[in-house]
């Protein structure tokens, strides 16, 4: 198997995923094109030599439907020969795009690929692609379907995380993100989104609330209590995990990932492919894996997939210098640290989606880029990137600097 190298990565800033968000005026395809343009221009890429573009997108319907990757290629003015495809594994789509690229390179099928993802949550909306998982009683009944927030609350209840603990985690996420922005840790990878005149539309993550403290979070009401009670989902949670007497609802907008718009792209290739294009490798994909996990807890897949992946890679937790776990909800990260005994100073060291937002299909590629930059800044070697996934799955990837 050939090694798959990472040559470059970029992301857009994350715009607030609402009608008043700065990126709301930018169609999904243009977000996708922005990162493709940046990758091409930064690396003087001959796009006719590109073997594939693999984009994650979780709600690939309407303007994001019908293969958003190929559409973005047109919008970016890539060569005709550059093909594109869109994949979906819910929140891990962006990382699975990377893994799929690595597999294509590893197999020798492709030499140069761009992977990543795009999601305009403000323009398309969560859940707009429908699906049997949450709609069809033949599926949602045996799968113990519940909204992710209720699952996150179930995790907090089952594993004993109080409202104060999830809030404290979130305050720290905001603090770390603010610090990283302030120090310019992201500046090489975040490309401002500009209009056709070169005027900047957005150049920073606008979901962040750097001043967040325990007091301001304490004023927020739990978001999923009514849904849990009236929608019957608390009953589903208890029936899936009868050791829980009743679900305690602790999550709210301030300790859950932000709804945002954004895109990311990662330039990958084989050693040979990189050399031909005159690229310098920054890291390689050491290993990756996927797993299905308890669908009711839904968001504990990272624990399972991390164990599986370390085992397959012949590594232990202590071989990993930095962990990057998508902050879908605070309890997801707290449970991960609890189960694998990972200290907080080794995980999500520059904050995460609670502060900066989670543009579903793009996030996996974004956080992989974030942790690669941080490995370089700290001059460390190895990082493990993972995300929890709807319907109970986990995807994880280990990268190593070269």
């Amino acid at each position: 198997m050939a090694d798959a190298f990472i040559y470059d990565h970029v992301r857009t800033p994350r715009g607030r995923g609402k009608k008043d968000g700065s990126l709301h005026e930018v169609p999904s395809v243009r977000l996708g094109a922005k990162v493709l343009e940046a990758v091409r221009d930064r690396n003087e890429l001959d796009t006719s030599q590109l073997d594939d573009v693999v984009f994650g997108c979780v709600d690939p319907v309407m303007e994001a439907g019908g293969d958003i990757a190929r559409a973005s290629i047109f919008e970016a003015g890539y060569a005709t020969e550059a093909p594109g495809m869109q994949i979906n594994r819910f929140c891990a789509s962006g990382l699975d795009a990377v893994n799929m690229g690595a597999a294509k390179i590893g197999q020798g099928a492709d030499d140069i690929v761009i992977t990543g993802g795009v999601e305009s949550m403000s323009r398309v909306g969560i859940g707009m692609s429908g699906g049997a998982w949450f709609m069809d009683p033949s599926v949602n009944l045996p799968a113990y379907f519940m909204p992710q927030g209720v699952s996150a609350d179930l995790i907090a209840t089952k594993y004993g995380f109080s409202r104060d603990e999830v809030d404290a985690y979130s305050v720290e996420s905001q603090k770390r993100a603010a610090h990283a922005w302030e120090k310019g840790y992201f500046k090489n990878s975040v490309i401002p989104v500009k209009d056709q005149n070169g005027l900047t539309i957005l150049d920073h993550d606008e979901h962040m609330r750097p001043g967040t403290d325990m007091q301001s979070l304490a004023s927020l009401n739990a978001s999923f209590e009514i849904m849990g009670e009236m929608g019957g989902f608390d009953a589903v949670a208890v029936q899936a995990h009868p050791d829980v007497e009743m679900v305690k609802h602790v999550h709210h907008a301030g300790n859950s990932s932000g709804i945002v718009d954004g895109a990311a792209a990662i330039l990958m290739g084989s050693e040979e492919g990189g050399r031909k294009m005159g690229l310098k490798p920054r890291a390689k994909i050491r290993a990756f894996s996927n797993i299905g996990s308890d669908p009711a807890l839904m968001l504990t897949g990272p624990v399972d997939v991390t164990r599986k992946l370390l085992d397959r890679a012949g590594m232990t937790r202590d071989d990993i210098d930095l962990f990057e776990l998508n902050e879908a909800f605070a309890s997801v990260v707290l449970r991960y640290m609890q189960a694998l005994e990972i200290p907080h100073d080794k995980i999500n060291v520059n904050g995460g989606a609670i502060a900066m937002g989670h543009p579903l299909g793009a996030t996996g590629a974004m956080i992989l880029g974030t942790v690669l930059d941080e490995l370089e800044r700290r001059d460390l070697n190895t990082a493990l990137v993972t995300l929890c996934i709807g319907a109970g799955m986990g995807t994880a990837t280990i990268i190593e600097r070269v």
């Binding site: 859940g127 429908g130 949450f134 709609m135 069809d136 009683p137 033949s138 949602n140 009944l141 379907f145 519940m146 909204p147 009236m230 929608g231 019957g232 989902f233 009953a235 589903v236 208890v238 029936q239 995990h241 009868p242 050791d243 829980v244 007497e245 009743m246």
Partner: protein, 737 residues
Amino acid sequence: MSYKNFTIETDSDGIALITWDMADKTMNVFTLEVLDELDAIVDQVTNDEAVKGAVITSGKSTFSGGADLTMMNSVFERIQEERAKDPSGVSKALFDQVGRMTGLFRKLETCGKPWVSAINGVCMGGAFEMSLACHGRVAADGKDVKMALPEVKVGIFPGAGGTQRVPRLTNQQDALMMMTTGQNLSPKKAKSLGLIHEIAEPDKLIETAKQMIRDGLKPVQPWDEKGFKLPGGAIWSPQGAQLWPAVSANLRKQSYANYPAAIAIIKCVYEGLQVPFDTGLRIEQRYFTEILQTPEAYAMVRSLFVSLQELNKGARRPAGIEKTKFSKIGVVGAGFMGAGIAFVTAKAGIPVVLIDRDQNAADKGKAHSQDLVAAAVKKRRMSEEDGEALLSLITPTTDYAALDGADLVIEAVFEDRGIKKTVTEAAEAVLAPGSVFASNTSTLPITGLAENSRRPDDFVGIHFFSPVDKMMLVEIILGEKTGDKALAVALDYVQAIKKTPIVVNDTRGFYVNRCVMRYMTEAYSMLIEGIPPAMIENIAKMTGMPVGPLALNDEVAIDLSQKVNRATIADLGEGAVDPRHVELIDTMVDTHGRLGRKNGKGFYDYPAKPAKKHLWPELKDLYPQQDPDDVSVDEVKRRFLATIALEAARTMEEGIVTDPREADIGSILGFGFAPYTGGALSYIDGLGVKAFVDMCDDLASRHGEHFKPTPLLKEMAANGETFYARFGAGAGIGQAA
């Protein structure tokens, strides 16, 4: 043409009035013959050019009870037999058979002439489905006019187009609620849902129905019109996306997804609304074919329809004894139970003398009825006049002379042999020969109490459950000397108050409480093993029990369990109660002062409302806790079901209960034993006695000797017998054991 079950009268406007009136039945039901005749009538209406349209109604006070479930029961028997031979053949035959009604109703609604259903009374199941296939529906305005699709209550579902027509007439949420709960609809409610078009005064019903046709009722259903839109929005619409994820969740909340028929209903609606109507009917037909073959459908129809009806009709009543007409009933002891008994008796229109030691106590007993009446009037479940009439039937007094002329006296005094003796003697001093004296004891053997009586053959146990006004079961306990007359009077009384009797022989705990004890003691063992208390309670409810065992123990009081333990040890010796259980209960009561709900401190804490009760947090500290993820949910479920079923089997083996129908119904109505099983013995029969015995042996290897299968079970397993085959089909029926 003439028909056996219908008459047809065509008026001068060419409107055929079809009156359904089955000669040999008190209520119209769908039989094969009825279907054949209705089929011919549809043809006749369609082909006779003089006929413009048809109104269908009933010649009885009710419209129809729907499909003949007794007949359905025989279908089940056949399925069971055929399945062994040719499983795929069974499905095909069944599929065609269940399509019969669907096809007939579809033919009716597409015949080209308008049909109106004139619903004059109770209209259930298949009859309501037929009405929904009619182009017009009028219901008479009356208290007794109820419409429902109640099939789910007996383990099946509306399989003659109901799941397709209802959600095409009303919004999906109401449609699902109506069908998954089987709720009754008043004419007003049915009209507000859009399920009927008009409500008419009873004497104008037929005229209103005919007028709909004269007014040009279109013989086309909405779903057969071009451009038809679902009233609740399409499945794939914002409304659909709001509703559907919560549908399964709420089903779990309602019934723990234990009922395949309820699940099939929501699948039929979800899948059926995405396709054309005829395809939807076919989808429903496939699910109906599947559901009819489930063990749940078989067991529920048998127990909750057939057996329940038989017991209510007095299956165990000795023959040849004239039915008792009650002119007066005495209740001695106006405490909570006595007061409840007085209420249900007066509610049945029978005068009650309610006796206690002082007038104040007797009045307090009557006040219980006043409270219940006030609540019912407030909820409009009872009119003020009816409430007044009920209360006027209860005479609270201290004077035993008032019992003179009573046909039956029930004592519900303190569980003390001495007090019971005094009461029995005082009552019998006034009672005429031939009148019956009954004890509502729940703990003292009837045979012993009957020794206080001068007429032990007229002495019987009538054991109510608390709260008396809600619990539908009554255990009739036969002492050694109880005679047929006393049994007949007791059964007549239970029938008069519209409850369901089971007849059991005399033993400690009788039937129901013996089973309930097992339920609670299994929970004690689990607590002691360190299974987290929340798991014990939640899994019990997931198993289908209405109340967790620890919550139940709080209701009956933990200090009462302590008393029972002590009495059992005193009577039967140290080994009679598991010493670990004694220690647990003693710790709860003596060390922690936790007596149950009555002092707000039991296995649960009971904070002031509106806060909900929650498990006592320190309960977890009594025993080292297991990791919940290592506890097998299925094993906990099996332990609850098996320990109760084993106890039920023991009562059969000991001859305490003699009829499997009574063991089943007693377990469901007495303590809510997982109704989808059909009851404690149907659970065993459903698994197969051999499989049950193997399972119990397996459980015994881990959880104790009390799971060891009994000799009878082993014998039945070896012979391939079932309880219904060995003890059923009338075995023991009509014998006062």
